[in-house]
Subunit: 368 residues, 5 copies
Amino acid sequence: MSKSRRRAANVRKAARRERRAQTIGKPPGAWRVDPAAPHAGVRVVAFGPDEIEEHAKLDGLDTLRARFPVVWVDVVGLGAAKVLRRVGEAFSIHPLALEDVVYVHQRAKVEEYPGGRYVVVRRVRTNEDGSLGSEQVSLFFGKGFVVSFQEGEEDDAFAALRKRLRANLGRTRTSGADYLAYALLDGLVDDHFPVVDALGDRVEALSEGVLAEDAEIDIVSQVQDLRRDLQILRHAMWPLREAIQALLHDESGAFEPATRLYLRDCADHVAQIVELLESDREVASGLMDIYLSVTSNRMNEVMKVLTMIATIFIPLSFLTGLYGMNFDTGSPYNMPELGWRYGYPALLALMFGIALALVGYFRHKRWL
Amino acid sequence: MSKSRRRAANVRKAARRERRAQTIGKPPGAWRVDPAAPHAGVRVVAFGPDEIEEHAKLDGLDTLRARFPVVWVDVVGLGAAKVLRRVGEAFSIHPLALEDVVYVHQRAKVEEYPGGRYVVVRRVRTNEDGSLGSEQVSLFFGKGFVVSFQEGEEDDAFAALRKRLRANLGRTRTSGADYLAYALLDGLVDDHFPVVDALGDRVEALSEGVLAEDAEIDIVSQVQDLRRDLQILRHAMWPLREAIQALLHDESGAFEPATRLYLRDCADHVAQIVELLESDREVASGLMDIYLSVTSNRMNEVMKVLTMIATIFIPLSFLTGLYGMNFDTGSPYNMPELGWRYGYPALLALMFGIALALVGYFRHKRWL
Amino acid sequence: MSKSRRRAANVRKAARRERRAQTIGKPPGAWRVDPAAPHAGVRVVAFGPDEIEEHAKLDGLDTLRARFPVVWVDVVGLGAAKVLRRVGEAFSIHPLALEDVVYVHQRAKVEEYPGGRYVVVRRVRTNEDGSLGSEQVSLFFGKGFVVSFQEGEEDDAFAALRKRLRANLGRTRTSGADYLAYALLDGLVDDHFPVVDALGDRVEALSEGVLAEDAEIDIVSQVQDLRRDLQILRHAMWPLREAIQALLHDESGAFEPATRLYLRDCADHVAQIVELLESDREVASGLMDIYLSVTSNRMNEVMKVLTMIATIFIPLSFLTGLYGMNFDTGSPYNMPELGWRYGYPALLALMFGIALALVGYFRHKRWL
Amino acid sequence: MSKSRRRAANVRKAARRERRAQTIGKPPGAWRVDPAAPHAGVRVVAFGPDEIEEHAKLDGLDTLRARFPVVWVDVVGLGAAKVLRRVGEAFSIHPLALEDVVYVHQRAKVEEYPGGRYVVVRRVRTNEDGSLGSEQVSLFFGKGFVVSFQEGEEDDAFAALRKRLRANLGRTRTSGADYLAYALLDGLVDDHFPVVDALGDRVEALSEGVLAEDAEIDIVSQVQDLRRDLQILRHAMWPLREAIQALLHDESGAFEPATRLYLRDCADHVAQIVELLESDREVASGLMDIYLSVTSNRMNEVMKVLTMIATIFIPLSFLTGLYGMNFDTGSPYNMPELGWRYGYPALLALMFGIALALVGYFRHKRWL
Amino acid sequence: MSKSRRRAANVRKAARRERRAQTIGKPPGAWRVDPAAPHAGVRVVAFGPDEIEEHAKLDGLDTLRARFPVVWVDVVGLGAAKVLRRVGEAFSIHPLALEDVVYVHQRAKVEEYPGGRYVVVRRVRTNEDGSLGSEQVSLFFGKGFVVSFQEGEEDDAFAALRKRLRANLGRTRTSGADYLAYALLDGLVDDHFPVVDALGDRVEALSEGVLAEDAEIDIVSQVQDLRRDLQILRHAMWPLREAIQALLHDESGAFEPATRLYLRDCADHVAQIVELLESDREVASGLMDIYLSVTSNRMNEVMKVLTMIATIFIPLSFLTGLYGMNFDTGSPYNMPELGWRYGYPALLALMFGIALALVGYFRHKRWL
């Protein structure tokens, strides 16, 4: 999985290059579009309890805002400076907020600006090679409108909600912009459950693998990859938890009491994700210890058995050496055994006895 | 105990499947019953200081609520959508609360809804194979009523309380719905003491086993199982502690002052469980270290002894090799010892002396 | 010291048995006396600045309370339900408080009840075998009275204070019930200094032992015992610290300002104990690391020396093997050395040279 | 990289020497210039929305302050006591603040003085040898003025801002002294992104290196250097985060609401740096573990293979010893094999068979 | 450095002996002078902006207090009960405060008493053998007076301040008693910088030593000593930090606003010390890990080389054994090589080839 590591390194490098372009020696709030970013498309949805209209251009926004209780502008891909500027002007989004929209390496946060609230969510997704990556989705919402900015253009985070809106399912059509903002957040949060589940499966597979007989050295790098991915999800979820808590305890009336109950439910989901994550992290950080202990135990077993084989043969070899010496057998004191009729069988028996005794001793000592 | 691990994996998989069914692409609050859940039975108990009535159906709930100060509806098994819907309507339970009732993988929590408080408790129980599992029990209580939802149908969590109610023991019959809610919580909490005690026994058994002479490699996986079970109980108890503290410091008058003293006692019990748990966790996390140190010490002892045997024989074998050489004994400088009358006995004596000296040296160095 | 471990296990078992008797399926507040507990004796002391009276029975309590500013009832041993019930009624002690008095496995805490404050202290004592155990002492005090409950009957925790009272030393006789409660607490706290000191001695002895040449495998279990005892003291002292802080910051006037200065001093003593304890814990938890590092270093030294002996002899033995081969010495190319006049002495010299060179090399590499 | 370590040691020594000169036995607030510090130059910039003037001397400060809404005095190099004294008097800077300006080893902090706010920032920079060092930059700002003090004279921290001021880019010229102070802080903070990025590259390079086949012992000291540098940056950034938070929550009106939005952005940047840093720290602290595990695994592999080679040859050598014994072959029981026609080939076959069997056994046991 | 350890143990023992004398069975506030303490001398300094008087006795304190704005009584050595009692009465110091003055093993703290504030500082000093020890210095100050109590008599903590007072340097003479108290505290705090610096030098020396080629087992005990000394300083500084923070946030007007700025500076110095300390602690706790890793790496290198030497010779020795067998060379199948003309040189060449091949293989595998 070194591919995933290389990908992560590339993402980091891109973030640095872009950051340099955005921040070094530039006045704050003077944002610049990343030339490599995809071109922005827009999806404007204006709705009330009875009517819904969808457009793919920004013209006539003011009319729509006058006619409908809620207008939702969804900007997909952040490569078109003109579109961002028009949206920013239409809803008086502060330049600092737009800078954060464009520099897509923010951590999740909520910021209050005059005229609205700005929420950043890091959306973690599984890449094709199984590693995790993250995109930035941000929301700016105020009285009667929500603007959402999606970094990537491939995968629509809000498709399910859009369908529900058209079909007039749930409370979204009949509620205000605050409920829409909640629904968008909720969709983004619930999107992470499959990611967490996949991580859980990887943790379990590795837990099994680590105890298996044929654990390979590769386990080390797989556990490393797993911890890196858990880390990515964690860096996305912890600040999100704080951010949603901040929204929940916001006393300025941005959310109506009825919507707050739903927002609390959303906060609860983030808490569930964080808890699953922490429990996975704990298991994962124990995996290395178990792996090392298992490996070292197995190694010890091998060494012990081999050393015992050596130990058994050492006295036997000594004996063969003894009777291989060239003492003059003329003297009756020099190895008379060599001349005995049954000398050799007797020696073989002695050797066998020594080997048996040693094995018995090792057994007795519980070394075998 | 890999059975327990497989069971845990299955529980996780079921949770994921269900979560997918509940949340992905669904409007919030639109709950759906798990088709694999047992069918719901209900037990309605209505009582006052003097009278008590028990029913097994939901009809006539309004009459009962009018006639008795406290009505308790106990829903056992969450498989019947109709029953849940009727109960929800009868006590105006918020759809989000009902969603949490049905999706039985919540963490313990307290939530305030208009019309009542919703409490989730994770009830940890010992499976037949000795591993731990957990069920969700939730309470919704308000003025004059308590509704309890039990996930499993096999084991009644409230049997003891029901008996006390019938026999009019304790203060339950004479107190309000808040005291009943307390009593239900207290019963759920006290149910965990035997579980904690069983874990304590396992910790102690493993502590003994780890120091025993014949500690097996299996210890590793048993300690892992133990830590997993401690983790399960911990994940149930820590949020419960917070939840009960939240109830205790709730200033909205949900609990009368007299009941609060009892609730504080209940919070104290949770704190006791948590403390026992943490102390077990500490011991358990030290077990691996002790095990490794004991194993490695024993291994070292083995290796040391064997290496010493080898070391003692190495010079002796060298000597046998020496006198096994085929130098022409015609020259008086070439191994004249071979021709001596007492050459062989002298060599044996020398060898014995060398072995003794080496053993003495090792003893002196405290290596033996 | 496995005796201490067995004792600890027995205490745990007793706690479980009793808890089962107290809590499972019983209405809260319905306490039951442990039949194995010693029978309760009572010591009633009533005093004012000028007078002091002592009784050994509960009769006439009301008269005493009317006549004296402070009445102190000391219940020793908790085996007599009747005595407890009478004391409870005389001072209107809440049933939940009495339940905690009787179930002697509480953690230290302060609870406010109508009519008084209930304080639990765990009193840690050294058993005869040197291990630590703990008893529960609880106080209930209110306007003009203090009731103390001692679990054990053998060792009077309050003997010194009783003497001071009789001799009218210090401020106790002239102050109110709050000062008496403080004095009791202070006596209980100061009782722990010798225990902490003994633990400190054990820590120091083990620190020395671990670095000593002949450290035995027994160190592991001694360090375990030490950590267990530190844990016991810690579990007694940490909650006590919180409890006394709670008393100190109690704004309800339970303590007069003058007494509060003394209570702060008592809190300071607990803080000192906790600090000594934590510092001991830190040293103790480092002991295992040092022990392992010392053991492994020593083992490495042994192995290194032995391996070097083997390595020096291996080439020498090879040479003896070489000249032990039976090549036909008829050919002038086949081991002509065997026929040399000084072949053997030359070989001996060569071997000696090789051994010297190897030792020199090892020295040079700093392996020896 | 021991050069970097030596440099760090030198910096520490200089700090100590200077501290001794500043603090020991001196009345507080009696600062003294470090004689080794570079001589101070000053850059005075006075500006309003329409006009901007730059001077390189302190004369006429009062006139400038009267004529322009904002006056910025930038003191570069802290070696000239006279200059510092004049600046101090001109803006009534408290002697304690000046002491902190001169003793350039402060941690980042914000302090409120009558007449202004004093902010210390540690500016971390990469030395030529790749190691990190830090300089102190401090700001004192109040109504209509900002004074900045730069420790080093080589590298101007504020060059980019000065250019923007002259070109009248951004909001600086049209805003007050509080915005200028923010802009200076923001420039100092953003300066750290390249430093963090370089550290990130080092972390990644080491992560690769640690798993590479030819990991050298040098890794240990490189990881140490890396952790030291991470530590330096951390010690600069953590207090800075707190300091900027303190500025942000300062309720005394030092910052106008519009400027606060920008300050929040700056706080966000510090938070980003800290997060990158913590994530690098976590990886770095795991590197040693991985390195040790990889090294030990590789070592184990080597030992295992070598031990097996030895084990295979041990029985074979025993056999050669056996048939090297000099038993009198006159007796038919003494090694009759020696006299067989095919004795030697049979023995060779036996040896080959034993070797094969052992290899097979090791394979079967997954030891090879 | 076991001397330092013995000294530390002695200090602990003395503390215990004294504690027993002070607390066991004594009424609170009934202090007793340690008979082994040096006899108390007093230095009375009374001063105002214009005048200063110094005395070495306690007589006439009241007159001095009437004549001068500030009176400072410095008690050196705590062995004279009479002196302490007189000072206590003169400034109405609470008996509990005097008890803490006499029992010189307090942790740093601030306590408010009626009539004044009591501050305890632990003054850490370097003993002659390089280890650290600590003395207690306490201050009691109120309106118009400061009393300081120094445990040791050898080394005057306040000499520098006394000189400044006489020379009328700084603000001390013109400020009130609160500034004097600050100045005393500041002197005590700044005294610790040289101690921290010496510890930093030891940390650096050990960091170098640990990586050096000839690291000895002694490193373990030196690191232990270092950590013990860091611990001592830490136990003195952490509570001091809290104590000074408490003084700083004390709203009762004990310090005038102008003095508070100075006190904040003093708090800053303590924070600097604590930061240096924590960074040293971190390095020190990493030292053991590095040492173990370096040692184990070196050991592994040794074992690897030695094992390889053994492995190379094992097949060669097998060959010599082979040709040492006594098969009847009458049969043409029995070791015909023995009879070859170039048999021996061929075998030597074969052996050389095998050795070369093995070395090549080890090189290829990067084991050498």
